[in-house]
């Protein structure tokens, strides 16, 4: 009799844990959905052009800060023929064609890798400033 009670309690516990796990997964999915919905632009893609180079910019989402500035969020990528920059939060100014990040960023170019605590991309990408503690690795 006692064994039956224990087995029943055990089974109820397992069912309860399983259901709460499922609930959590649902909550996460819902949260992500809300988060995606909360982006002003989903998966924005555009280019920064100057007479020398074209830089393609993409991200998972973007929120308008004001009429000129967009906060690009998650998997932000700057791709040009010569380099690639990866970061998570980048403030892009449409008017000035500049980008700024205060989060960990990685720059990858031919035989070169830069890791910094943020970056500023100015003058249509002709000048890139990597901020904070920075490491550059050159492969010969």
């Amino acid at each position: 009799m006692l064994i039956l009670i224990f087995v029943s309690i055990f089974l109820i516990l397992i069912i309860f844990l399983f259901q709460s796990g499922q609930m959590k997964k649902l909550e996460i999915k819902e949260f992500q959905a809300i988060k995606n919905v909360n982006y002003d632009i989903s998966q924005p893609k555009f280019t920064i052009n100057n007479y020398k180079r074209k830089i393609s910019v993409s991200a998972k989402g973007g929120n308008f800060i004001n009429k000129d500035e967009i906060m690009l969020q998650e998997d932000v990528k700057f791709n040009s023929r010569k380099f690639k920059i990866l970061s998570n939060n980048v403030l892009f100014n449409k008017k000035k064609q500049t980008a700024k990040s205060d989060t960990s960023s990685i720059f990858i170019s031919n035989k070169t890798k830069i890791k910094s605590e943020g970056f500023d991309l100015i003058e249509n990408g002709d000048v890139i400033k990597f901020n904070g503690k920075t490491e550059l690795i050159i492969t010969k």
Partner: protein, 252 residues
């Protein structure tokens, strides 16, 4: 999987371990890349480590040719320190070195460049051109030292040859508006100008010449010193006399 790798890269502390053949550059205040001008600025507490050399400075300007990896010239400013496996060590307020031209320049107070067996000190400028095999030391009380000779002057220019990784002085042209000094194992010499030629091991001294050897002091306007047999000829013009002081005390 790709996401996990990206997350790991972003959250990991700033450190990408250097592998053999790579150059690792670290800074405290970032890097500014000027793509049109083809250089980048490395700011604050800069450390550059490669298989061949290590460089530290407050600020470094690195010029490149095709891309960032292709460094052609480095200008290091503020407490600059360079050491190389090719027996080059330099300390100065500024160190410039051109990789293609094989030139190294050290500037500022208490500059020092040790290049194989040539030890150079200056308070202004030291420049070595390893292709043309010549050097310049500028500035009051600049010093050139080897195992055989020590020269102190405000301007020392010279040529060298490299034999089995040892730099041997081939020619010297030395000037000082006050007084230069040359110290060898057997004599101490002073003048305003001096020339040295390794071909026949001759030192020529010009103007206000003074030679001090164990038992004698010679004063003249010109001296021609043969370092092989340690003999010399002296002369004076403009009615000035050659003065020779012989001290016999040590022979008594």
């Amino acid at each position: 999987m790709k996401k996990i790798i990206l997350i790991l890269i972003f959250i990991s502390p700033i450190s990408i371990a250097r592998e053999k053949g790579q150059i690792e550059i670290t800074t405290n205040q970032g890097i500014e890349v000027f793509q049109n001008e083809k250089y980048y600025l490395l700011k604050d507490n800069v450390n550059i480590v490669s298989d061949d050399f290590e460089l530290n400075a407050d600020l470094v300007k690195a010029y490149f040719e095709k891309d960032l990896y292709d460094i052609s010239k480095i200008e290091a400013t503020g407490n600059a320190k360079l050491s190389s496996i090719k027996n080059i060590a330099a300390i100065g307020q500024k160190i410039y070195f051109s990789i293609n031209d094989q030139q190294i320049q050290v500037e500022g107070e208490n500059s020092n460049l040790n290049f194989n067996n040539l030890d150079m000190f200056s308070n202004k400028l030291i420049l070595v051109d390893n292709i043309k095999k010549n050097f310049i030391l500028k500035g009051k009380s600049s010093i050139l030292k080897t195992e055989e000779i020590k020269i102190v002057a405000s301007l020392i220019t010279g040529k060298y040859i490299n034999i089995n990784d040892v730099n041997e002085i081939k020619e010297l042209d030395i000037k000082d508006e006050n007084q230069l000094s040359i110290t060898t194992k057997t004599a101490k010499m002073f003048s305003k100008k001096a020339k040295f030629n390794k071909k026949n091991d001759i030192i020529e001294l010009f103007e206000n010449v003074k030679i001090i050897r164990v038992n004698e002091i010679v004063e003249a306007e010109y001296a021609y010193i043969d370092l092989i047999n340690e003999s010399y000829k002296v002369s004076s013009k403009n009615n000035k006399k050659v003065k020779l002081l012989i001290d016999n005390k040590t022979n008594e």
